[in-house]
Symmetry: C2
Subunit: 420 residues, 2 copies
């Protein structure tokens, strides 16, 4: 019987792992609660009306097709029996494994603040991106028919919390959406009434970049009309306002939260050793400490770099770890030893708006147009599927020239029948 | 003060009306509860994973941009004050009018059968098309992990009720989806297990076409593997079966209802004269009988052709009526008389699958590949927006060559916050 590998999670850790396992003497089952791989770095472009959801969501069966040794299983993992080596799913199935790879990712971190969690609009999955898109479009429509100045002010103020890449990229994209679409299509609204506020708790945005690039990004955002406020933490939120810790009340109907992620809380239920931040403890081969035949990778795992620092919760470490674990499993079957996992930092990129991005590769620093071209190339390269690449490139090219945002219909799926 | 025209409904009646009014000595307000014009003839291609929602949904503000005399108003009409000439919206606003055009369309007709209404999946708006797409993809996933033969049979049986264009086109597209995607991507499933049943109450499908084309369409569908059953009416439905009036029980988890439409029930609440079928009674100038300054067009209006027959509830009469009423309103402002409305039947088209369609134009009859090319050209021509045309054409060309169905992610918007 072939060696059975179950990979849980088809994100940036799980999918490269499965792809690298293909063709080996293994039977692979990839489990995910969604039927697609999501290219999260472009989520904000769905939220800002530039891309269709399907352009950043690759159906997993399509991605895997032609790999007879890989099965896809749609399902929610509810538990892992570490003794019997079984993965339990919500629909009652139990998947036996010889090796298990957990790549279950992260969720938005509201730092235990329920008022924030219940009011905030997240930007971490496609459902949230669509909700945010629909919300912004509805708020503009409501503002267009509201004459009360206070109500109008709250409707036209967009408060984004978190100066990391997601917050910065979404703030820039929203500013462009407003600049391109409002003057042409909302004669009822004055662009000058719109306020986009970006609140960051630290003293600079994009803190993973060198300080000079952070300063550049903030400058660019301000030039685009974004009100960048540093050293600001959010204390609470209501339906129509956000209050900072220093007591300022910002009237807003749109409160976007991108201020942090935490490892998937699922891991805690699996009986695995966790560190203080809730990440699964792994050894230098990405094996879960003290638990044979279980690997953890990506955001959920507390992997470390050569200097002992924790790896950031972004996609490149997850991708490298996924490929590493696949190699380690295949080597294990052959009885070959594997060297320890070594993360190679290839650099970081973030875009601020059309024609402007910041990036580092080793000691190199890019910014402005050059950074943007690098950003474009890298994101197209990593987008799963040739067709998606072509379509997204055409879309970008088209809208770069036409200055338009095409995906602006407020669309929701009809509610499911309760019985289905 | 300019003459105020309120047009309710941005479908195939309302939008051409507004476009024709543009530039006239009028102030036009277009009201719709959605922010987009929907190209309904291609809805089934969204439901069958070929097109993105945004490709058949044109944002109304974009369609209207550059027309300073036309305002768009997102809102739900709750009532019309015929004496004071006011349109009331759900958000409390009241829009005054000098002339009112009602183009509020139709809804799915379940013929008063609550069991059917609560179980059926409709295919009349984008929300329903997305629900149907997600449902079919989920059913295939569930079938892939179900070994019980009865459960599997119900999961892999797709029951479509109604042999009109929507039912025929969706049945054909679903058969193609199954043929293209199943063998490649669902190794757990055998294509031979899939049953697509098309139930039609009359003795032929596409009853608006000549009998020879109906027969051709049924033949083509059967060749594609669709089980076409004529003279079958549905009596009831449960979660996992459909029962016909002659007592047959068809186990199925997918019950699609395309068997009829009825005029929007909103009209009844407006105090307008209705005919026995619930359509608003109009004179030969499409004015609502006995109600000054109110026009009704499209599916909701009981307009008649030269021979006194009722116009069918399809898009061409609505489009012609929309343009006619715009001309009539402009003529009325100038004090010019208008000739009575005359519907010109330009023909009918329906597609059965890739490379096959039926159509009539006057006495001409098309079928097969020629019909399909005509179908393609006509549908591209009427798609609103140049970009959508280009994108849909590229999409069709690409997938015609690649034989793929790209839009297969199961995506739903996150639930709105109750407070928003």
């Amino acid at each position: 019987m072939a060696h059975r590998v179950v990979v849980v999670g088809a994100g940036f850790g799980g999918l490269p792992c499965v792809r690298r396992l293909r063709g080996g003497p293994v039977e692979v089952t990839l489990v995910d609660r969604r039927n697609y791989h999501l290219f999260t770095p472009l989520l904000y472009q769905v939220a800002s009306c530039l891309l269709n959801p399907s352009e950043i969501a690759a159906p997993l069966r399509k991605v895997l097709h032609g790999a007879p040794d890989v099965r896809f299983r749609l399902g929610e993992v509810t538990g892992v029996d570490l003794g019997e080596r079984l993965v339990h799913l919500a629909d009652g199935a139990a998947l036996p494994y010889d090796d298990l790879v957990l790549s279950i990712g992260s969720t938005t971190n509201y730092f235990g603040n329920d008022a924030i969690a219940s009011r905030a609009l997240g930007l971490k999955d496609l459902g949230e991106a669509l909700r945010l898109r629909n919300h912004v479009l509805r708020v503009l429509e409501r503002a267009a028919t509201t004459s009360d100045p206070d109500a109008r002010r709250a409707l036209l103020t967009f408060c984004i919390v978190g100066g990391g890449p997601t917050g910065v990229e979404y703030a820039g994209a929203l500013a462009e959406l407003v600049r391109l679409v409002l003057p042409r299509e909302y004669p009822e609204l004055d662009r000058g009434e719109v306020r986009i506020v970006l609140l960051e708790g630290a003293d600079r945005v994009l803190s993973m970049f060198p300080a000079s690039l952070s300063a550049y990004a903030a400058r660019q955002l301000r030039r685009m009309g974004v009100d960048v406020r540093l050293d600001r933490l959010v204390a609470s939120a209501t339906e129509s306002s956000v209050t900072t810790r220093d007591g300022e009340v910002i009237p807003t109907e749109t409160f976007v939260w991108t201020a942090g992620v935490e490892p998937s809380p699922l891991a805690a239920g699996f009986g695995l050793p966790l560190d203080a931040r809730g990440r699964v403890e792994v050894d230098e081969h990405l094996r879960v400490r003290g638990v044979p035949h279980v690997y953890a990778i990506g955001d959920v795992a507390a992997a470390r770099d050569r200097r002992g620092g924790e790896l950031p919760m972004v996609s490149p470490p997850a991708m490298q770890a996924g490929r590493y674990v696949a190699r380690a499993i295949l080597a294990g079957i052959d009885g070959r030893p594997t060297r320890r996992f070594r993360y190679v930092d290839k650099g970081t990129l973030a875009t601020i708006g059309r024609q402007s991005a910041v990036g580092t590769v080793g000691r190199l620093r890019f910014r402005g147009f050059v950074g943007w071209v690098v950003w474009l190339a890298v994101h197209l390269w990593y987008l799963i599927g040739f067709e998606n690449r072509v379509r997204v490139l055409l879309r970008w090219a088209w809208y770069y020239v036409r200055l338009d945002r095409p995906v602006r219909a407020i669309i929701r799926s009809a509610p499911d029948h309760s019985a289905r």
